[in-house]
C-alpha cells in the first residue's frame, strides 16, 4: 500500500518534471536565457582582466562568487565536525599493530607499486592546486586527489602506517585552514579599502593590483586545497578507526 502511494507520487513528480522540460528553453541554444544573460557574457569576456585567471570557472568560484566558496569550505568543515562528533577521532599516538584491522594483506608488488605511485599522485595534486587559475582544477580538486591518494595508501598499508605519514598533529591545525584563509583574505580586502573578500584592493596603485589579485587567488587555492585534503583524510580515518584501538592502546 505504502509503496503504491509512493510510486504514484514519484510518477506524478516525473510527469510534472517532464512537462516542464517540454516547455524549457532549448538546450545548447546561444539565445536561451542562461547563455544570453548579461551575467554570463560579462564573466566570459571580462574574467581574465578582472580576476586575472585564465580559467573562468576559477575566477567565478574564488573571486566573483567567493562568498559561496566560503560557505562551501564551512560545509566541509561542518561535515568533519559532525563526523568527529558522531564517531570520534582515531587515537592519537601509537596504535598496536595487531589491533589495526584496516590493513589488507597484499603482495610485495602491490605494496611497492602503491608506495611508488602515491608521491606522484600527490605531485599531480599540487600541480592541480597551484595551476587552478590556468587549467582545469583548483583548490578543492587537488585536495580531493590528495585525499584519494591517501585512501589508496591506507587500503594497502593500513591505518597505522598512514596515520604515521600524515599524523594527527599535522592534520589538526590545518583542517580549518580553508576558512581561515578566506577570512584573512576577506579582512585584507576591508583593509585595502574595498568590501569583504575584495581581491583588487582599491587603495593600492593600479599597476600593483594584478599581482595582488594573482597572489591572493593562489593563497586561497592553497588554503582550500590543504584544508580540503586534511578534512577528507580526517573523515576517512575517523570512519576506518576501529573501536578496538581504544581498548588495546595503553
Amino acid at each position: 500500500m505504502k509503496s503504491v502511494v509512493s510510486l504514484l507520487f514519484i510518477a506524478a513528480l516525473l510527469g510534472l518534471l517532464l512537462y516542464v522540460v517540454a516547455y524549457m528553453p532549448p538546450m545548447g541554444d546561444p539565445e536561451n536565457p542562461t547563455n544570453s544573460s548579461d551575467v554570463t557574457t560579462r564573466y566570459l569576456e571580462k574574467a581574465e582582466e578582472e580576476t586575472h585567471t585564465v580559467n573562468a570557472i576559477t575566477g567565478i568560484i574564488l573571486n566573483y562568487r567567493g562568498y559561496d566558496t566560503m560557505g562551501e569550505v564551512s560545509v566541509i568543515f561542518c561535515a568533519l565536525a559532525a563526523v568527529l562528533a558522531v564517531l570520534g577521532r582515531e587515537k592519537r599516538g601509537k596504535i598496536y599493530a595487531y589491533a589495526d584491522r584496516s590493513r589488507v594483506p597484499s603482495s610485495v608488488i602491490v605494496r611497492t607499486m602503491v608506495a611508488f605511485l602515491v608521491p606522484f599522485i600527490i605531485l599531480f595534486s599540487i600541480y592541480t592546486i597551484l595551476h587552478g587559475e590556468l587549467s582545469p582544477g583548483g583548490g578543492f580538486q587537488g585536495g580531493a586527489i590528495i585525499g584519494a591518494s591517501m585512501i589508496i595508501f591506507t587500503t594497502i598499508f593500513g591505518l597505522y602506517e598512514s596515520s604515521e605519514r600524515i599524523p594527527q598533529k599535522l592534520r589538526f591545525p590545518l583542517e580549518g585552514s580553508a576558512f581561515i584563509t578566506f577570512f584573512v583574505v576577506g579582512v585584507l580586502g576591508l583593509v585595502g579599502g574595498g568590501n569583504f573578500l575584495t581581491y583588487a584592493w582599491p587603495n593600492i596603485a593600479t599597476d600593483l593590483q594584478p599581482a595582488v589579485v594573482l597572489w591572493l587567488t593562489i593563497l586561497v587555492e592553497i588554503g582550500i586545497g590543504v584544508g580540503g585534503a586534511m578534512v577528507l583524510i580526517s573523515i576517512l580515518f575517523s570512519m576506518i578507526r576501529e573501536e578496538e584501538e581504544i581498548a588495546v592502546a595503553p
Partner: protein
C-alpha cells in the same frame, strides 16, 4: 518536439526520479544513500546541461579562444560547490549509518523504526552516553 531536443534534461529528470524512488521505497539505508547520491548527480547533470552551448568549448581562455563560443561557466562554478556539499552530506550520513548499525544491528528501515511507536521511557536522553 522540445522534449526530444532537451533529451539531456529528460535523462536528468529520469535519474532524479530513480534516486527519489530509491530513497522512498528501498528499505536498506545504504541503498537509500546511494539513491541520494544518484539524485544529487542528476541535478548536477541538469545544471551542466543548462550551461551547454552547441559546439561550445570549455571556458578556459587558452590561445586566444573566442569567448562567444564558450559554454556558460556559472552552472559549472555552482556545481563545484554542490559536489562538495554532496560529499559532506554523504560522509555524515555514513557515519550515522555506522553508529546505527552498532546500536541496532540492522540496516533495514522497517526493523530500525519498528519499536518507534513505543513512547520513550523517562530519562532516555541521558542514557547510553558513551
Amino acid at each position: 518536439m522540445r522534449l526530444l531536443h532537451n533529451y539531456q534534461y529528460v535523462a536528468a529528470m529520469l535519474l532524479f526520479c530513480i534516486g527519489l524512488y530509491t530513497i522512498i521505497v528501498r528499505r536498506n539505508i545504504i541503498k537509500k544513500l546511494i539513491g541520494l547520491n544518484i539524485m544529487e548527480t542528476a541535478v548536477f547533470f541538469f545544471y551542466i546541461s543548462l550551461g551547454y552551448l552547441d559546439g561550445g568549448i570549455a571556458p578556459i581562455r587558452v590561445g586566444g579562444a573566442d569567448p562567444s563560443r564558450m559554454v556558460n561557466p556559472i552552472p559549472q562554478a555552482l556545481i563545484l560547490t554542490g559536489i562538495v556539499v554532496a560529499v559532506s552530506v554523504t560522509a555524515l550520513a555514513l557515519a550515522l549509518v555506522i553508529l546505527l548499525y552498532r546500536q541496532y544491528g540492522t540496516l533495514d528501515v522497517d526493523r530500525l523504526f519498528r519499536d518507534e511507536e513505543k513512547e520513550p521511557e523517562s530519562g532516555t536522553e541521558r542514557g547510553g552516553t558513551a
